[in-house]
Symmetry: C2
Subunit: 215 residues, 2 copies
């Protein structure tokens, strides 16, 4: 469905922030359908549409997600303690917070993006993340557009095998991110708005690596 | 820069098509900057902004890209002939056409999206495609928004090592897609508009794989 009017493209792109804390209000079916349908408008190789979406809305399902993500976080902490995860610490604004896993038990909706692998792989293949993340970006922009919010989380992948078994995913289907969705907590909490980015000239090169761009 | 007004988010999402044939008109610097800046508004883990963009606008550079992509296509054809690439054939509308590699020598702009690898890898890592494709989707939507067009191509990756050497990419930087950009050929050729997608209900499951969704 094409919406006439509504938020402008550039307003959505420039104000869509990662939202991890939500009002308890439920997400209307029509809005959930709208954001997932928008995701499915993404491009894909040969228009094969290799994305699949698993929507968790039951109390039992969300409770199980919360438990699995807590276990994933524990695994991640072990790896950090063992020196296996040497990522720079995220900026405070980007850190998910210790209570995020707990909060998943009560977020309005959880969407798990999945990629179904092509028949064969090769240098042209963009892998499960490349297959799904254009659609995930559409989904998050559409959420912004209808007043909802969400974010890409991948920490659950420390327990990817357990997630796959629990969700009953076929062998060729890989979960690529877990997206909580709901109404942003709002004025006194998380909300959409301007965000911090490096000047694009620092990340862009003319003709070859290191070449300064002027535009 | 936030644009006031302009195309609506949902119009952009629903009408942004893959554009591979372009008018010869050059892309104004300001519009190129606008689409790359929009790309950089994408989310990333810890807001690390791991994308880099190499812009090819010189005649010599585009000629070299065209040659390398022709060589990549030849490699792909060899692999198919040897039975190593068993992909289903793309739909005719999605097939890039035999003249695409040739046309790259004269497209207005070529953008090569690159991902800079994080310090360490782990289950949380989304890899080079996951790092860049949310931004690539923003870039393509923004192009649609300002009247331009482009598409994601990955065939060049059959010659990824040669591209990396030619572009002078550091070892930890991986090119993830090659995007031609320009004004769509228009009325008698390629243009933006409605596109063909499967009903989203076929690609969405409730609670677990196979669960029918109602929304």
């Amino acid at each position: 469905m094409t919406e006439q009017g509504g938020i402008s493209l550039f307003d959505a792109i420039y104000t869509m922030r990662a939202i991890r804390r939500f009002k308890p209000d439920p997400v209307p079916d029509a809005l959930l359908r709208q954001v997932i349908e928008a995701a499915g408008q993404a491009p894909s190789g040969g228009n094969r549409q290799p994305w699949r979406w698993v929507v968790i809305r039951s109390a039992e399902g969300k409770q199980r997600v919360s438990e699995l993500v807590k276990q994933a976080n524990a695994k991640a902490a072990e790896a950090r303690a063992a020196g296996q995860d040497r990522r720079p610490a995220p900026t405070p604004a980007a850190a998910p917070g210790a209570d995020f896993a707990e909060s998943l038990a009560s977020v309005p909706v959880i969407v798990i993006a999945c990629a179904q692998a092509p028949v064969s792989q090769g240098p042209w293949s963009v892998g499960p993340f490349g297959q799904t993340y254009p659609g995930v970006e559409n989904l998050l922009l559409a959420a912004r557009g209808v007043g909802l919010g969400g974010c890409i989380t991948t920490g659950f992948r420390w327990m990817a095998a357990e997630f796959k078994e629990w969700l009953g995913l076929p062998d060729d289907v890989e979960p690529t991110c877990l997206i909580p969705l709901g109404y942003p907590l709002g004025k006194d909490g998380e909300r959409h708005g301007r965000k911090t980015r490096r000047p694009i000239e620092e990340l862009t090169h003319e003709e070859r690596w290191g070449g300064a761009i002027s535009f």
